[in-house]
Protein backbone atom coordinates (compact mmCIF):
# COMPACT_ATOMS: atom_id res chain seq x y z
CA UNK A 1 0.00 0.00 0.00
CA UNK A 2 3.17 2.11 -0.24
CA UNK A 3 2.38 5.23 1.71
CA UNK A 4 -1.31 5.45 0.83
CA UNK A 5 -3.83 5.59 3.63
CA UNK A 6 -5.70 2.30 3.92
CA UNK A 7 -8.95 1.79 2.03
CA UNK A 8 -12.13 3.12 3.66
CA UNK A 9 -15.18 0.88 3.93
CA UNK A 10 -16.76 2.66 0.99
CA UNK A 11 -13.62 2.16 -1.07
CA UNK A 12 -13.65 -1.54 -0.20
CA UNK A 13 -17.25 -1.69 -1.44
CA UNK A 14 -16.38 0.10 -4.66
CA UNK A 15 -13.35 -2.08 -5.43
CA UNK A 16 -15.16 -5.35 -4.61
CA UNK A 17 -18.04 -4.25 -6.84
CA UNK A 18 -15.66 -3.39 -9.67
CA UNK A 19 -14.08 -6.87 -9.37
CA UNK A 20 -17.54 -8.42 -9.68
CA UNK A 21 -17.86 -6.70 -13.07
CA UNK A 22 -14.77 -8.39 -14.56
CA UNK A 23 -15.31 -8.96 -18.27
CA UNK A 24 -18.92 -7.73 -18.26
CA UNK A 25 -20.19 -5.96 -21.36
CA UNK A 26 -23.35 -3.95 -20.64
CA UNK A 27 -24.05 -2.56 -17.20
CA UNK A 28 -27.08 -0.64 -15.95
CA UNK A 29 -25.65 1.95 -13.56
CA UNK A 30 -27.00 3.69 -10.50
CA UNK A 31 -25.66 6.85 -8.86
CA UNK A 32 -23.38 6.95 -5.85
CA UNK A 33 -21.16 3.95 -5.11
CA UNK A 34 -22.33 1.83 -8.10
CA UNK A 35 -21.43 4.68 -10.41
CA UNK A 36 -17.88 4.86 -9.05
CA UNK A 37 -17.57 1.05 -9.09
CA UNK A 38 -18.62 0.82 -12.72
CA UNK A 39 -16.30 3.61 -13.81
CA UNK A 40 -13.46 1.93 -11.90
CA UNK A 41 -14.23 -1.40 -13.61
CA UNK A 42 -14.18 0.30 -17.01
CA UNK A 43 -10.68 1.61 -16.27
CA UNK A 44 -9.43 -1.74 -14.94
CA UNK A 45 -11.17 -5.12 -15.31
CA UNK A 46 -13.85 -4.37 -17.92
CA UNK A 47 -12.51 -1.85 -20.49
CA UNK A 48 -15.11 -2.86 -23.08
CA UNK A 49 -18.04 -2.20 -20.76
CA UNK A 50 -20.94 -0.04 -21.98
CA UNK A 51 -22.50 2.11 -19.26
CA UNK A 52 -26.27 2.41 -19.47
CA UNK A 53 -27.87 5.08 -17.30
CA UNK A 54 -31.51 4.75 -16.33
CA UNK A 55 -32.10 8.36 -17.36
CA UNK A 56 -31.73 7.36 -20.99
CA UNK A 57 -28.12 7.00 -22.12
CA UNK A 58 -26.34 4.04 -23.72
CA UNK A 59 -22.56 4.05 -23.77
CA UNK A 60 -21.95 6.93 -21.37
CA UNK A 61 -18.50 8.43 -20.74
CA UNK A 62 -19.11 10.75 -17.80
CA UNK A 63 -16.42 13.41 -17.47
CA UNK A 64 -17.38 14.20 -13.88
CA UNK A 65 -19.07 12.35 -11.04
CA UNK A 66 -22.81 12.79 -11.54
CA UNK A 67 -24.86 13.77 -8.47
CA UNK A 68 -28.13 12.71 -10.03
CA UNK A 69 -28.91 9.84 -12.37
CA UNK A 70 -29.79 12.37 -15.09
CA UNK A 71 -26.72 14.61 -14.96
CA UNK A 72 -25.87 16.32 -18.30
CA UNK A 73 -22.34 14.87 -18.17
CA UNK A 74 -23.71 11.40 -18.98
CA UNK A 75 -25.06 12.73 -22.30
CA UNK A 76 -22.07 14.62 -23.68
CA UNK A 77 -19.75 12.15 -25.39
CA UNK A 78 -22.09 9.17 -25.07
CA UNK A 79 -22.90 6.70 -27.84
CA UNK A 80 -26.67 7.25 -27.77
CA UNK A 81 -29.41 9.04 -25.92
CA UNK A 82 -32.55 6.93 -25.77
CA UNK A 83 -36.09 7.79 -24.77
CA UNK A 84 -37.52 6.17 -21.63
CA UNK A 85 -39.72 3.98 -23.83
CA UNK A 86 -36.71 2.71 -25.80
CA UNK A 87 -34.55 2.32 -22.70
CA UNK A 88 -37.00 0.18 -20.75
CA UNK A 89 -38.45 -1.59 -23.78
CA UNK A 90 -35.67 -2.14 -26.30
CA UNK A 91 -32.66 -2.21 -24.03
CA UNK A 92 -33.83 -3.59 -20.66
CA UNK A 93 -36.87 -5.75 -21.38
CA UNK A 94 -35.35 -6.62 -24.77
CA UNK A 95 -32.56 -8.42 -22.92
CA UNK A 96 -29.55 -6.24 -23.74
CA UNK A 97 -28.44 -5.59 -20.14
CA UNK A 98 -25.91 -8.00 -18.59
CA UNK A 99 -25.68 -6.58 -15.08
CA UNK A 100 -27.94 -4.29 -13.11
CA UNK A 101 -27.01 -2.64 -9.83
CA UNK A 102 -29.65 -2.37 -7.13
CA UNK A 103 -29.80 -1.30 -3.52
CA UNK A 104 -32.58 -0.73 -1.08
CA UNK A 105 -33.79 0.02 2.39
CA UNK A 106 -34.32 -3.68 3.09
CA UNK A 107 -33.00 -6.96 1.70
CA UNK A 108 -33.91 -10.47 2.83
CA UNK A 109 -31.98 -13.75 2.80
CA UNK A 110 -33.14 -14.51 -0.74
CA UNK A 111 -32.11 -11.15 -2.18
CA UNK A 112 -35.60 -9.70 -2.48
CA UNK A 113 -35.56 -5.91 -2.08
CA UNK A 114 -37.75 -3.20 -0.59
CA UNK A 115 -37.50 0.42 -1.76
CA UNK A 116 -41.15 1.36 -1.21
CA UNK A 117 -42.20 1.75 2.44
CA UNK A 118 -41.20 0.95 5.99
CA UNK A 119 -44.31 -0.10 7.88
CA UNK A 120 -47.77 -0.57 6.43
CA UNK A 121 -48.21 0.51 2.81
CA UNK A 122 -51.38 2.51 3.39
CA UNK A 123 -50.03 4.23 6.51
CA UNK A 124 -46.26 4.04 6.23
CA UNK A 125 -43.80 4.84 8.98
CA UNK A 126 -41.35 5.91 6.28
CA UNK A 127 -42.30 6.59 2.69
CA UNK A 128 -39.34 5.54 0.49
CA UNK A 129 -38.85 6.50 -3.20
CA UNK A 130 -40.54 3.40 -4.64
CA UNK A 131 -39.52 1.23 -7.57
CA UNK A 132 -38.20 3.60 -10.18
CA UNK A 133 -36.71 1.12 -12.60
CA UNK A 134 -35.70 -1.38 -9.88
CA UNK A 135 -38.64 -3.76 -10.32
CA UNK A 136 -37.97 -4.26 -14.04
CA UNK A 137 -34.19 -4.27 -13.64
CA UNK A 138 -34.56 -7.13 -11.12
CA UNK A 139 -36.64 -9.09 -13.64
CA UNK A 140 -34.93 -8.28 -16.93
CA UNK A 141 -31.20 -7.72 -16.35
CA UNK A 142 -29.28 -10.99 -16.81
CA UNK A 143 -27.84 -10.72 -13.33
CA UNK A 144 -28.18 -8.38 -10.36
CA UNK A 145 -25.49 -7.03 -8.07
CA UNK A 146 -26.64 -5.43 -4.85
CA UNK A 147 -24.63 -2.76 -3.02
CA UNK A 148 -25.82 -1.99 0.52
CA UNK A 149 -24.40 -1.16 3.92
CA UNK A 150 -25.16 -3.77 6.56
CA UNK A 151 -27.41 -3.20 9.55
CA UNK A 152 -30.16 -5.16 11.24
CA UNK A 153 -32.59 -2.51 9.94
CA UNK A 154 -31.63 -3.24 6.34
CA UNK A 155 -30.73 -6.96 6.37
CA UNK A 156 -34.07 -8.24 7.63
CA UNK A 157 -35.82 -11.55 8.15
CA UNK A 158 -38.96 -10.25 6.49
CA UNK A 159 -39.40 -7.31 4.12
CA UNK A 160 -42.11 -4.75 4.84
CA UNK A 161 -42.76 -4.62 1.08
CA UNK A 162 -41.31 -6.54 -1.85
CA UNK A 163 -40.60 -3.98 -4.55
CA UNK A 164 -38.11 -6.01 -6.58
CA UNK A 165 -38.09 -9.80 -6.64
CA UNK A 166 -34.86 -11.71 -6.03
CA UNK A 167 -34.82 -15.43 -5.36
CA UNK A 168 -38.37 -15.23 -3.92
CA UNK A 169 -38.63 -17.96 -1.24
CA UNK A 170 -35.77 -20.01 -2.63
CA UNK A 171 -34.03 -20.95 -5.84
CA UNK A 172 -36.39 -23.72 -6.94
CA UNK A 173 -39.49 -21.55 -6.76
CA UNK A 174 -37.60 -18.66 -8.30
CA UNK A 175 -36.35 -20.71 -11.26
CA UNK A 176 -39.86 -22.01 -11.89
CA UNK A 177 -41.35 -18.53 -11.75
CA UNK A 178 -38.64 -17.07 -13.98
CA UNK A 179 -39.29 -19.70 -16.63
CA UNK A 180 -43.08 -19.53 -16.36
CA UNK A 181 -43.25 -15.73 -16.41
CA UNK A 182 -40.57 -15.15 -19.00
CA UNK A 183 -38.07 -13.23 -16.89
CA UNK A 184 -35.00 -12.20 -18.85
CA UNK A 185 -32.58 -12.61 -15.96
CA UNK A 186 -31.47 -15.08 -13.35
CA UNK A 187 -31.70 -12.76 -10.36
CA UNK A 188 -29.16 -11.68 -7.77
CA UNK A 189 -25.63 -12.99 -8.13
CA UNK A 190 -23.87 -11.03 -5.42
CA UNK A 191 -24.28 -8.61 -2.54
CA UNK A 192 -21.43 -6.27 -1.70
CA UNK A 193 -21.51 -4.58 1.68
CA UNK A 194 -19.20 -2.53 3.87
CA UNK A 195 -18.13 -5.75 5.62
CA UNK A 196 -17.93 -8.42 2.96
CA UNK A 197 -18.98 -10.02 -0.30
CA UNK A 198 -21.94 -12.40 -0.40
CA UNK A 199 -23.14 -14.83 -3.03
CA UNK A 200 -26.18 -17.07 -3.26
CA UNK A 201 -26.08 -20.83 -2.64
CA UNK A 202 -27.79 -23.34 -4.93
CA UNK A 203 -30.98 -23.12 -2.86
CA UNK A 204 -31.11 -19.34 -3.41
CA UNK A 205 -30.03 -18.22 0.06
CA UNK A 206 -27.40 -15.58 0.68
CA UNK A 207 -24.04 -16.74 2.05
CA UNK A 208 -20.83 -14.96 2.98
CA UNK A 209 -18.11 -15.43 0.33
CA UNK A 210 -15.35 -13.17 1.67
CA UNK A 211 -14.68 -10.80 4.51
CA UNK A 212 -13.22 -7.31 3.86
CA UNK A 213 -9.86 -6.44 5.43
CA UNK A 214 -10.52 -5.21 8.96
CA UNK A 215 -14.05 -6.64 9.22
CA UNK A 216 -14.90 -9.43 11.66
CA UNK A 217 -17.41 -12.27 11.66
CA UNK A 218 -18.92 -10.86 14.84
CA UNK A 219 -19.64 -7.58 13.04
CA UNK A 220 -21.16 -9.52 10.15
CA UNK A 221 -23.46 -11.54 12.39
CA UNK A 222 -24.45 -8.56 14.52
CA UNK A 223 -25.65 -6.60 11.51
CA UNK A 224 -27.81 -9.22 9.80
CA UNK A 225 -31.33 -10.02 10.99
CA UNK A 226 -31.09 -13.75 10.31
CA UNK A 227 -28.43 -16.38 10.88
CA UNK A 228 -26.16 -15.76 7.92
CA UNK A 229 -24.41 -18.68 6.26
CA UNK A 230 -20.68 -18.49 6.76
CA UNK A 231 -18.10 -20.87 5.20
CA UNK A 232 -15.75 -22.94 7.36
CA UNK A 233 -12.74 -20.88 6.39
CA UNK A 234 -13.69 -17.39 5.39
CA UNK A 235 -11.53 -16.00 2.57
CA UNK A 236 -10.43 -12.38 2.71
CA UNK A 237 -11.65 -9.93 0.08
CA UNK A 238 -8.56 -8.88 -1.93
CA UNK A 239 -7.06 -5.66 -0.62
CA UNK A 240 -7.46 -2.79 -3.12
CA UNK A 241 -4.31 -2.14 -5.12
CA UNK A 242 -2.48 1.19 -5.08
CA UNK A 243 -3.65 1.83 -8.62
CA UNK A 244 -7.30 1.16 -7.73
CA UNK A 245 -7.12 3.55 -4.79
CA UNK A 246 -5.36 6.15 -6.91
CA UNK A 247 -8.07 5.97 -9.59
CA UNK A 248 -10.80 6.40 -6.98
CA UNK A 249 -9.09 9.20 -5.08
CA UNK A 250 -7.62 11.17 -7.96
CA UNK A 251 -9.98 10.56 -10.86
CA UNK A 252 -13.35 9.13 -9.89
CA UNK A 253 -14.18 10.82 -6.59
CA UNK A 254 -11.53 13.49 -6.07
CA UNK A 255 -13.60 15.39 -3.51
CA UNK A 256 -14.33 12.25 -1.53
CA UNK A 257 -18.07 12.82 -1.80
CA UNK A 258 -18.89 9.12 -1.77
CA UNK A 259 -15.92 7.07 -0.67
CA UNK A 260 -14.05 8.99 2.02
Amino acid sequence: MSGQRPASKSELMVVASAHALTGKRVCFVGVGLPNIAVNLAKRTVAPEMELVYEAGVFGANPARLPLSIGDPTIVTGSTATVSMHDLFGLYLQGGRIDVGFLGGAQIDRFGNLNTTVIGDYAAPKTRLPGSGGACEIAINAKEILVIMRQSTRSFVKELDFRTSPGNLDGAVAAAKTRAAQGWGGSGPSGVITDLGVYGFDDDGEMALRSLHPGATLDEVRASIGWEIRVPQNVPATPTPTDEELRLIREELDPTGAYVS
Binding site: L67, M84, S131, E136, G182
Partner: protein, 310 residues
Protein backbone atom coordinates in the same frame (compact mmCIF):
# COMPACT_ATOMS: atom_id res chain seq x y z
CA UNK B 1 -49.90 30.16 -43.05
CA UNK B 2 -49.53 28.78 -39.58
CA UNK B 3 -50.75 30.79 -36.63
CA UNK B 4 -48.54 31.75 -33.75
CA UNK B 5 -49.34 30.04 -30.45
CA UNK B 6 -46.84 32.15 -28.60
CA UNK B 7 -48.23 33.39 -25.28
CA UNK B 8 -46.84 34.34 -21.88
CA UNK B 9 -46.84 31.77 -19.09
CA UNK B 10 -49.75 33.35 -17.26
CA UNK B 11 -51.97 33.03 -20.33
CA UNK B 12 -50.66 29.55 -21.12
CA UNK B 13 -51.73 28.26 -17.70
CA UNK B 14 -54.87 30.35 -17.12
CA UNK B 15 -57.21 28.77 -19.64
CA UNK B 16 -55.98 25.18 -20.13
CA UNK B 17 -55.28 24.18 -16.51
CA UNK B 18 -58.41 23.76 -14.40
CA UNK B 19 -58.99 22.76 -10.79
CA UNK B 20 -59.28 18.98 -10.61
CA UNK B 21 -57.30 18.34 -13.82
CA UNK B 22 -54.72 15.62 -14.29
CA UNK B 23 -51.49 17.48 -15.08
CA UNK B 24 -48.18 15.99 -16.24
CA UNK B 25 -45.10 18.20 -16.10
CA UNK B 26 -42.61 15.73 -17.57
CA UNK B 27 -38.85 15.69 -18.11
CA UNK B 28 -36.51 13.05 -16.66
CA UNK B 29 -34.12 15.13 -14.47
CA UNK B 30 -33.60 17.21 -17.63
CA UNK B 31 -35.93 19.98 -18.88
CA UNK B 32 -38.47 20.11 -16.05
CA UNK B 33 -40.73 23.14 -16.41
CA UNK B 34 -40.42 24.67 -12.94
CA UNK B 35 -41.63 27.94 -14.52
CA UNK B 36 -44.99 26.31 -15.32
CA UNK B 37 -45.19 24.62 -11.92
CA UNK B 38 -44.63 27.95 -10.18
CA UNK B 39 -47.26 29.68 -12.33
CA UNK B 40 -49.78 26.96 -11.43
CA UNK B 41 -48.98 27.64 -7.77
CA UNK B 42 -49.44 31.41 -8.28
CA UNK B 43 -52.78 30.83 -9.99
CA UNK B 44 -53.82 28.70 -7.01
CA UNK B 45 -55.06 25.63 -8.86
CA UNK B 46 -56.50 23.04 -6.48
CA UNK B 47 -57.28 19.30 -6.38
CA UNK B 48 -54.90 18.49 -9.21
CA UNK B 49 -53.83 14.94 -9.92
CA UNK B 50 -50.13 15.33 -10.60
CA UNK B 51 -48.56 12.69 -12.85
CA UNK B 52 -44.81 12.40 -13.39
CA UNK B 53 -42.33 9.54 -13.48
CA UNK B 54 -40.14 11.32 -10.91
CA UNK B 55 -42.06 14.02 -9.00
CA UNK B 56 -38.81 15.89 -8.27
CA UNK B 57 -38.74 19.24 -6.47
CA UNK B 58 -41.40 20.76 -8.72
CA UNK B 59 -44.16 18.51 -7.33
CA UNK B 60 -42.80 18.77 -3.78
CA UNK B 61 -43.31 22.53 -4.15
CA UNK B 62 -46.77 22.17 -5.74
CA UNK B 63 -47.86 19.75 -3.01
CA UNK B 64 -46.53 22.11 -0.33
CA UNK B 65 -48.53 24.92 -1.97
CA UNK B 66 -51.73 22.92 -1.73
CA UNK B 67 -52.29 22.31 -5.46
CA UNK B 68 -52.54 18.52 -5.38
CA UNK B 69 -54.90 15.86 -4.12
CA UNK B 70 -53.23 12.89 -5.80
CA UNK B 71 -49.87 11.76 -7.16
CA UNK B 72 -49.26 9.26 -9.97
CA UNK B 73 -45.55 8.40 -10.14
CA UNK B 74 -42.81 5.77 -10.29
CA UNK B 75 -39.95 7.23 -8.23
CA UNK B 76 -40.49 9.70 -5.43
CA UNK B 77 -37.30 11.43 -4.36
CA UNK B 78 -34.86 14.31 -4.61
CA UNK B 79 -32.47 12.80 -7.20
CA UNK B 80 -28.97 12.39 -5.84
CA UNK B 81 -29.94 13.95 -2.51
CA UNK B 82 -32.70 12.09 -0.66
CA UNK B 83 -36.38 12.53 0.12
CA UNK B 84 -39.10 14.92 -0.98
CA UNK B 85 -40.03 16.10 2.48
CA UNK B 86 -43.19 18.09 1.70
CA UNK B 87 -44.66 15.03 -0.01
CA UNK B 88 -43.52 12.78 2.83
CA UNK B 89 -45.41 15.00 5.27
CA UNK B 90 -48.54 14.24 3.24
CA UNK B 91 -47.90 10.49 2.92
CA UNK B 92 -46.76 9.47 6.41
CA UNK B 93 -49.64 9.64 8.95
CA UNK B 94 -47.29 10.44 11.83
CA UNK B 95 -45.97 13.51 9.98
CA UNK B 96 -49.36 14.83 8.88
CA UNK B 97 -50.17 18.35 10.10
CA UNK B 98 -53.53 19.09 11.72
CA UNK B 99 -56.20 19.79 9.11
CA UNK B 100 -54.18 18.15 6.31
CA UNK B 101 -55.21 14.92 4.60
CA UNK B 102 -53.05 12.20 3.12
CA UNK B 103 -52.33 12.49 -0.59
CA UNK B 104 -53.82 9.79 -2.76
CA UNK B 105 -50.99 7.69 -4.15
CA UNK B 106 -50.97 5.65 -7.34
CA UNK B 107 -47.57 4.19 -8.06
CA UNK B 108 -45.89 2.20 -10.79
CA UNK B 109 -42.36 1.37 -11.89
CA UNK B 110 -40.64 3.51 -14.53
CA UNK B 111 -41.52 1.13 -17.35
CA UNK B 112 -45.13 1.04 -16.14
CA UNK B 113 -45.41 4.85 -16.13
CA UNK B 114 -43.88 5.10 -19.61
CA UNK B 115 -46.26 2.37 -20.75
CA UNK B 116 -49.24 4.30 -19.43
CA UNK B 117 -48.32 7.33 -21.54
CA UNK B 118 -47.63 5.10 -24.56
CA UNK B 119 -51.03 3.37 -24.30
CA UNK B 120 -52.67 6.77 -23.83
CA UNK B 121 -50.89 8.24 -26.86
CA UNK B 122 -51.67 5.19 -29.03
CA UNK B 123 -55.37 5.06 -28.01
CA UNK B 124 -54.92 1.51 -26.76
CA UNK B 125 -56.68 -0.03 -23.74
CA UNK B 126 -53.48 -1.19 -22.03
CA UNK B 127 -49.72 -1.55 -22.30
CA UNK B 128 -48.30 -5.04 -21.68
CA UNK B 129 -44.97 -5.49 -19.90
CA UNK B 130 -42.91 -8.09 -18.07
CA UNK B 131 -42.43 -6.02 -14.92
CA UNK B 132 -44.33 -6.60 -11.62
CA UNK B 133 -44.01 -10.38 -11.61
CA UNK B 134 -43.65 -11.37 -7.90
CA UNK B 135 -43.53 -7.74 -6.80
CA UNK B 136 -45.97 -6.43 -4.17
CA UNK B 137 -46.83 -3.43 -6.39
CA UNK B 138 -49.90 -5.09 -8.05
CA UNK B 139 -51.23 -5.85 -4.53
CA UNK B 140 -51.33 -2.15 -3.63
CA UNK B 141 -52.24 -0.79 -7.06
CA UNK B 142 -55.33 -2.53 -8.49
CA UNK B 143 -54.69 -0.89 -11.87
CA UNK B 144 -51.68 -3.16 -12.42
CA UNK B 145 -53.29 -6.33 -13.74
CA UNK B 146 -52.42 -9.44 -15.71
CA UNK B 147 -53.42 -10.10 -19.29
CA UNK B 148 -53.24 -13.30 -21.29
CA UNK B 149 -51.63 -13.30 -24.70
CA UNK B 150 -54.06 -14.31 -27.45
CA UNK B 151 -51.06 -16.00 -29.06
CA UNK B 152 -50.29 -18.98 -26.86
CA UNK B 153 -51.79 -17.82 -23.59
CA UNK B 154 -48.69 -16.44 -21.89
CA UNK B 155 -49.58 -14.14 -19.03
CA UNK B 156 -47.94 -10.73 -18.62
CA UNK B 157 -48.77 -7.62 -16.62
CA UNK B 158 -50.61 -4.65 -18.08
CA UNK B 159 -51.11 -1.02 -17.13
CA UNK B 160 -53.97 1.25 -18.26
CA UNK B 161 -53.60 4.28 -20.53
CA UNK B 162 -52.88 7.66 -18.99
CA UNK B 163 -54.29 10.66 -20.82
CA UNK B 164 -53.42 13.81 -18.88
CA UNK B 165 -55.75 16.77 -19.31
CA UNK B 166 -52.60 18.84 -19.71
CA UNK B 167 -49.01 17.87 -20.40
CA UNK B 168 -46.33 20.52 -20.00
CA UNK B 169 -42.88 19.93 -21.44
CA UNK B 170 -39.75 22.04 -21.57
CA UNK B 171 -37.21 21.90 -24.40
CA UNK B 172 -34.40 23.85 -26.04
CA UNK B 173 -36.34 25.45 -28.88
CA UNK B 174 -39.52 25.65 -30.93
CA UNK B 175 -41.00 27.78 -33.65
CA UNK B 176 -44.05 29.92 -32.92
CA UNK B 177 -46.36 27.16 -34.15
CA UNK B 178 -45.04 24.75 -31.51
CA UNK B 179 -42.76 22.44 -33.49
CA UNK B 180 -40.46 21.47 -30.65
CA UNK B 181 -36.82 20.39 -30.88
CA UNK B 182 -34.95 18.80 -28.02
CA UNK B 183 -31.61 17.13 -27.40
CA UNK B 184 -30.06 15.44 -24.39
CA UNK B 185 -32.16 13.16 -22.18
CA UNK B 186 -35.50 12.73 -23.93
CA UNK B 187 -37.41 11.24 -20.99
CA UNK B 188 -41.00 10.56 -22.01
CA UNK B 189 -41.70 14.08 -23.30
CA UNK B 190 -42.98 12.82 -26.63
CA UNK B 191 -45.23 10.09 -25.22
CA UNK B 192 -46.66 12.29 -22.45
CA UNK B 193 -47.39 15.07 -24.95
CA UNK B 194 -49.08 12.81 -27.49
CA UNK B 195 -51.18 11.27 -24.68
CA UNK B 196 -52.49 14.63 -23.46
CA UNK B 197 -55.68 16.48 -24.29
CA UNK B 198 -53.84 19.82 -24.17
CA UNK B 199 -50.11 20.47 -24.54
CA UNK B 200 -48.07 23.43 -23.35
CA UNK B 201 -44.54 23.63 -24.76
CA UNK B 202 -42.08 25.80 -22.88
CA UNK B 203 -38.74 26.53 -24.55
CA UNK B 204 -35.53 28.44 -24.03
CA UNK B 205 -35.67 30.00 -27.46
CA UNK B 206 -38.14 30.67 -30.27
CA UNK B 207 -36.58 30.06 -33.67
CA UNK B 208 -37.83 30.59 -37.23
CA UNK B 209 -39.54 27.59 -38.80
CA UNK B 210 -36.62 27.41 -41.24
CA UNK B 211 -34.32 26.44 -38.35
CA UNK B 212 -36.65 23.57 -37.40
CA UNK B 213 -36.89 22.41 -40.99
CA UNK B 214 -33.13 22.46 -41.45
CA UNK B 215 -32.87 19.63 -38.88
CA UNK B 216 -36.14 17.65 -38.81
CA UNK B 217 -34.62 14.64 -36.98
CA UNK B 218 -34.37 16.74 -33.83
CA UNK B 219 -38.11 17.52 -33.70
CA UNK B 220 -39.74 15.57 -30.85
CA UNK B 221 -43.31 16.87 -31.17
CA UNK B 222 -45.05 18.74 -33.97
CA UNK B 223 -47.00 21.95 -33.56
CA UNK B 224 -50.04 19.90 -34.58
CA UNK B 225 -50.52 18.71 -30.98
CA UNK B 226 -49.35 21.88 -29.18
CA UNK B 227 -51.88 24.38 -27.81
CA UNK B 228 -49.55 27.01 -26.41
CA UNK B 229 -45.88 27.92 -26.77
CA UNK B 230 -44.08 29.85 -24.07
CA UNK B 231 -40.58 31.30 -24.40
CA UNK B 232 -39.09 31.13 -20.93
CA UNK B 233 -35.29 31.37 -20.68
CA UNK B 234 -34.03 29.45 -17.61
CA UNK B 235 -37.56 28.11 -17.22
CA UNK B 236 -36.28 24.69 -16.18
CA UNK B 237 -34.06 25.93 -13.33
CA UNK B 238 -33.09 24.33 -10.89
CA UNK B 239 -33.22 21.40 -13.33
CA UNK B 240 -31.18 21.91 -16.46
CA UNK B 241 -31.24 22.25 -20.22
CA UNK B 242 -28.54 20.34 -22.11
CA UNK B 243 -26.05 22.75 -23.61
CA UNK B 244 -27.71 25.83 -22.07
CA UNK B 245 -27.30 25.58 -18.31
CA UNK B 246 -26.24 23.01 -15.75
CA UNK B 247 -28.37 21.37 -13.09
CA UNK B 248 -28.27 23.52 -9.95
CA UNK B 249 -27.19 20.69 -7.65
CA UNK B 250 -26.52 23.17 -4.84
CA UNK B 251 -30.20 24.12 -4.87
CA UNK B 252 -31.30 20.47 -4.91
CA UNK B 253 -29.22 20.02 -1.73
CA UNK B 254 -30.53 23.25 -0.23
CA UNK B 255 -34.13 22.16 -0.85
CA UNK B 256 -33.45 19.14 1.33
CA UNK B 257 -32.90 21.51 4.26
CA UNK B 258 -35.70 23.92 3.39
CA UNK B 259 -38.32 21.26 2.75
CA UNK B 260 -37.71 19.42 6.05
CA UNK B 261 -39.47 22.29 7.76
CA UNK B 262 -43.03 23.26 6.79
CA UNK B 263 -42.58 26.91 7.82
CA UNK B 264 -39.30 27.24 5.91
CA UNK B 265 -40.97 25.68 2.88
CA UNK B 266 -43.82 28.18 3.06
CA UNK B 267 -41.35 31.05 3.45
CA UNK B 268 -39.46 29.84 0.39
CA UNK B 269 -42.69 29.70 -1.65
CA UNK B 270 -43.57 33.21 -0.50
CA UNK B 271 -40.20 34.58 -1.54
CA UNK B 272 -39.48 32.67 -4.74
CA UNK B 273 -42.93 31.84 -6.15
CA UNK B 274 -45.65 34.18 -4.82
CA UNK B 275 -43.13 37.00 -4.39
CA UNK B 276 -42.06 37.09 -8.06
CA UNK B 277 -44.55 37.83 -10.80
CA UNK B 278 -43.03 35.58 -13.42
CA UNK B 279 -39.93 33.60 -14.40
CA UNK B 280 -38.13 36.67 -15.69
CA UNK B 281 -38.47 38.21 -12.23
CA UNK B 282 -37.24 34.94 -10.66
CA UNK B 283 -34.17 34.98 -12.91
CA UNK B 284 -33.55 38.66 -12.20
CA UNK B 285 -33.78 37.99 -8.46
CA UNK B 286 -30.86 35.57 -8.73
CA UNK B 287 -28.83 38.11 -10.72
CA UNK B 288 -27.15 37.49 -14.05
CA UNK B 289 -23.88 36.22 -12.59
CA UNK B 290 -25.66 33.37 -10.89
CA UNK B 291 -26.61 31.77 -14.19
CA UNK B 292 -23.20 32.46 -15.70
CA UNK B 293 -21.91 30.06 -13.08
CA UNK B 294 -24.23 27.37 -14.42
CA UNK B 295 -23.30 27.81 -18.08
CA UNK B 296 -21.29 24.91 -19.54
CA UNK B 297 -18.45 25.35 -21.99
CA UNK B 298 -19.35 24.51 -25.54
CA UNK B 299 -19.45 21.01 -27.09
CA UNK B 300 -21.26 21.39 -30.42
CA UNK B 301 -22.40 18.43 -32.49
CA UNK B 302 -21.16 18.00 -36.00
CA UNK B 303 -23.73 18.79 -38.62
CA UNK B 304 -25.30 16.36 -41.07
CA UNK B 305 -26.27 16.94 -44.68
CA UNK B 306 -29.91 16.20 -45.48
CA UNK B 307 -29.38 16.90 -49.18
CA UNK B 308 -31.38 19.16 -51.45
CA UNK B 309 -33.76 17.12 -53.68
CA UNK B 310 -35.37 19.71 -55.89
Amino acid sequence: MSTSKLVDMRTAIAAPVHDGDTVAIEGFTHCISFAAGHEIIRQKRRNLTLARMTPDLVYDQMVAAGCAKKLIFSWLGNPGVGSLHAIRRRTEPAALAAGESLLEIEEYSHHGMVGRYVAGAHRLPFYPLRSYSESDLPKVNPLIRTVQSPFGGEEVYAVPPLNPDVTIIHAQRADAEGNVQMWGLLGCQKEAAFAAKRVIAVVEEIVPTSVIRADPNRTIIPGLIVNAVVCEPFGAHPSYVQGSYDRDNAFYREWDTISRDAAATEAWLQEWVYGVKDRAAYVAKFGGDYFKGLTPTSAPSGSVDYGDYR
